[in-house]
Symmetry: C2
Subunit: 369 residues, 2 copies
């Protein structure tokens, strides 16, 4: 599987599109806002009220969240500017990056409306908005994307858990599609090493591209436990594996096909993130936080049982928006509906029994001088 | 007609796509190469062998020409670098700009192959290629697109004859779709003033975005004559008007529909270009050249009569790739095939009688200090 060719969120704006099933990711963005505000305030102040600011959103995807992030970043920096240096003008360059198969055309068709909205919001508040120039950058963030020492601020949310490739395994991960309690130790090790290698490459590339004193805020789908096979991160893939295994036992999917399918993802704990940052050496961690979000981001802690069906369906659609291109490219189109029907059902049953949460690791760091 | 919404070259890679019918534009790019080489050499030298170079192609379209331009620019600057400063490394940022409806997805899917090809070519020549980072910028070049004082080199070919809007006319341009010998003087004036206003806006925006000493090379479809209705620039649209008028007389198109259709284009002569540059005041013209290209770029001056049919067909397809979205948005889909069949035939007949050429005005200029 060539991950750069296959990995993408479901396109368009249909029922299973990422565009219509990314509330969870949206909630995570809003949860990390205080950390972003803080990083931007520090950046703006230490840069001594710059005239231009160059920012990048890595793994921007395509949908309402893409320009939401840009909008939040611009509003945040404008608030700081108006507080600290009212008379200074500022221009912002926003780079939106994702893999080349991401639907950039859809984003680009919304840019001029987004820019108008930004100006209107500011006019309503009786303040002047910083002009924001938007540009799309196709490519893997595990390679260089920008000119050396050109970027002031890097943001990435729910992207860095995706690996550059499925780890190379010496043993078959039989019956599994991800790390699991029944995976051979060599499989777990392969996943861990792939994450370490990829994250190191990511840090090296960004270190070359960022100015000294530049800031980076990364939110990664992760875990709290030391155990990489803990339920908090692996359960969601276990349920997909269960659906696929059912279909293998019914002869609907070939066993060899199942054996050779593995998800190119790794959900690190905070220690693993900070270890890699320290080992690579170019960045200083300012803040490292763990947060949790319900599988169904639209529900809160007081959710009543009767809503479980809706939740299961929503989480099923969310996971389909994320995983369908991977499953499709490996197993073909004929089994897609069946797989995701079973998967959604498994999620529904599981959610009726217990409350399950996703764990986010957010790291805010500064490029050393 | 909202030009930013309607104007684009035919997408995809079909028989009438711009992608497969842009040989003429390709030939023009290669004809202006010496001027580009000269501008880049001067830029690199006066910038004192910079470590990074930021370039923009405005009106990049989508198809083989898009990354061809980028490739030519990178190869040109690398040749200069290897001659003048062999040991200096260089990184290049290339911004590809066009209106938001341009097919950026198709370009982005070719970027990684383009980057590999560039490296391979250089390896064959036993030299090292400068890494080139590609980024897409959606928007009209009659607005600001980039951060202030951020761009070193601007290139644009066959784009600036497109106006930001159809000129507002006080008299109807009856029977015509462009400036013509039978157009009222007020129509000619409206076209001229729209060009002057648009080109001035373009220069003002670029002046803000470019660094002092930055270079700009513009090739505009133009004319040599002082007369804005001269055959060299208007004839190609007269032939489309003739097709539409035929269909009006046959009752296939409503007369009012024809009366309200005008092409948002103006083909300036060199004097008009230099006048606007001087009036705006931010740029100094280094070189202003006029060149000619046969309607059928694949033929040379020794073309035999028997090839006229092919030529007419090619030029018809080329004009269809360029004009179809405009005609379609105004007249609807039902008459499209008929219009372009007649238009191609008109072109064929005309080309069998006389040799017709397009005129290009190329201006190379420097951003004043």
């Amino acid at each position: 599987m060539d991950v750069t060719q296959v990995l993408r969120m479901n396109g368009g704006d249909g029922d299973y599109s990422y565009s219509n099933n990314s509330h969870l990711q949206r909630k995570v963005i809003s949860m990390t806002k205080p950390i972003i505000d803080d990083a931007l305030a520090n950046l703006y102040y230490t840069m001594n009220f710059p005239k231009t600011l160059i920012m990048a959103d890595l793994g921007c995807s395509s949908g309402p969240n893409t320009l939401l992030v840009t909008s939040e970043l611009v509003k945040s920096i404008d608030k700081i500017r108006l507080k600290l240096a009212k008379d200074e003008s500022l221009e912002i360059q926003m780079y939106l990056n994702d893999l080349p198969h991401n639907d950039f055309n859809t984003i680009f068709n919304s840019v001029s409306k987004f820019q108008k909205n930004l100006t209107n919001q500011m006019v309503c508040n009786n303040t002047s908005s910083s002009p924001c120039y938007v540009s799309g950058v196709p490519g893997s963030f595990y390679t260089r994307l920008f000119l050396r020492e050109s970027i002031h601020f890097v943001y990435s949310s729910y992207s860095l858990m995706w690996l550059s490739q499925v780890p190379e395994m010496i043993n078959t991960n039989k019956g599994n599609i991800y790390m699991s309690t029944t995976s051979p130790p060599s499989v777990i090790k392969a996943y861990q090493e792939q994450f370490q290698m990829d994250f190191k490459t990511f840090l090296k590339c960004r270190a070359e591209e960022m100015v000294s004193g530049g800031r980076m805020v990364l939110t990664i789908l992760g875990r709290q436990s030391d155990d990489p096979c803990s339920k908090e991160c692996c359960y969601v893939w276990d349920l997909l594996a269960a659906s696929l295994n059912e279909m293998v036992s019914e002869g609907l999917i070939e066993e060899e096909k199942m054996d050779s399918f593995n998800i190119p993802q790794y959900t690190p704990n905070p220690k693993e993130v900070s270890n890699e940052v320290e080992k690579e050496g170019s960045f200083m961690i300012d803040c490292l936080e763990v947060s949790e979000v319900n599988w169904d981001a639209s529900t809160d802690d007081n959710v009543s049982i009767s809503e479980d069906d809706v939740q299961g369906y929503n989480m099923g659609k969310c996971m389909r928006a994320v995983a369908e291109p991977l499953v499709l490219s490996h197993f073909g189109e004929s089994i897609i509906e069946e797989v995701f029907e079973r998967y959604t059902n498994n999620i529904k049953v599981s959610m009726s029994k217990e409350k399950t949460k996703l764990v986010n690791v957010t790291a805010s760091m500064t490029r050393k001088g």
